[in-house]
Symmetry: C2
Subunit: 183 residues, 2 copies
Amino acid sequence: MASSSSAGEDATPTRILISVNESSIRGYPHPSISSRTAFDWTLQKIVRSNVAGFKLLFLHVQIPDEDGFDDMDSIYASPDDFQSMNQKEKIRGIHLLQYFVEHSHQLGIQCEAWIRKGDPKEVICQEVKKVQPDILVVGSRGLGPFQRVFVGTVSEYLVKHVDCPVVTIKRKADEAPHDPIDD
Amino acid sequence: MASSSSAGEDATPTRILISVNESSIRGYPHPSISSRTAFDWTLQKIVRSNVAGFKLLFLHVQIPDEDGFDDMDSIYASPDDFQSMNQKEKIRGIHLLQYFVEHSHQLGIQCEAWIRKGDPKEVICQEVKKVQPDILVVGSRGLGPFQRVFVGTVSEYLVKHVDCPVVTIKRKADEAPHDPIDD
C-alpha cells in the first residue's frame, strides 16, 4: 500500500468533529466538563503543534425538552413569551460555541461550529453522514456500569452507529463533580 | 483551563498503541487488511507531517490455539518438534512486526514493537494498563450485526474495558475479501 509511505503529503487537513454540550451544573452557558476534556485532549494529543494539519468542527445539539425544563417556572401569557424562550436558547448555544471557536482561533486552528436541535444520538449520526469528518470525538462522563443503566450513554450508541472512527474521551477522575451524573 | 491554550507545547510525543495481527488469508506472515488500514489511517489522519510528535507502539498478540491449528497436519514425534513449532511461530510474529517497524522507520517516526501470547482481548487490556498509551488504535473487519453474533469483536470489548481512548478503524468496503470473516 503506497499510502503508508506518504504520511503528511496530503494537503487536506484532518477534519475532526467534536460534539459539545453545556454543563448541567452551572447556570451560565459553560461547556460541560466532558466537552472541555474532549477538546483539550484533541489539542494536546492529536493536533499538537501541527495546527495547519487539522480543522475542528464543533457540533452542539440542543435537546428541546431539556431547555423547556429550565423554563418550567416561567409564565407563558402570549406567543411572544415562547419567542423569547427560543431566543434565550439560541443565545445560550451561541455562547457555548463561542468558547470553542475563540480558543481554536487563538491557537490558529481552522474551525467551524453550528447548532442543531433534536436527540443528540440521532442528530450526531445525521451530521456525520452529511459532513463526513475523518474522526468524531465525543466526551463521556465515564460512568460505571451501574450508573450507566439509568443514564444511558450517547457515546456507546455512536461508537456502534456512526460511519467514521469515533474516540470517546472520558472525564478525568479528579474532574468528576459531586454527583457523577452531572457534567 | 490553561491546557487548551497550549497545544503542541508538550515535548513528550503522543504515544499511539496499535494492535496488529496476521492476515488469515495468506500463508506467509502478512499483516491483516484491518491492521494495515489502522496503521495507514493513523499515519494519514493523525501523524500527518508531524513525525516528531508521535511514537507508535505495535503490539502483536499471538493466539496459541490459532497457531496450533495451522500445525494440525504436522507430526510430533519428539519434544524437538514442538520446539521447532514455537520457533516458527516466533519467526512469523517477528516478520509481521518488521513490516510496521520498517514503514515507521522509513517515515522517521519513533516506534517500538513487541509480541505477547494469549487472548487478544485480555492481553491488550493488560498491556494498555502497563504501557499507558495516549490512545489505542484497533482495526476491525467492520462486520454487520448478523456476522458479529457469531464472530464477536475484539474492538467492541476494548472500547468498553480499556482505560485509554480507543479508536476503531473499519476496513474499507472495497478492501473486504470474498469471505468477510477473513482479514
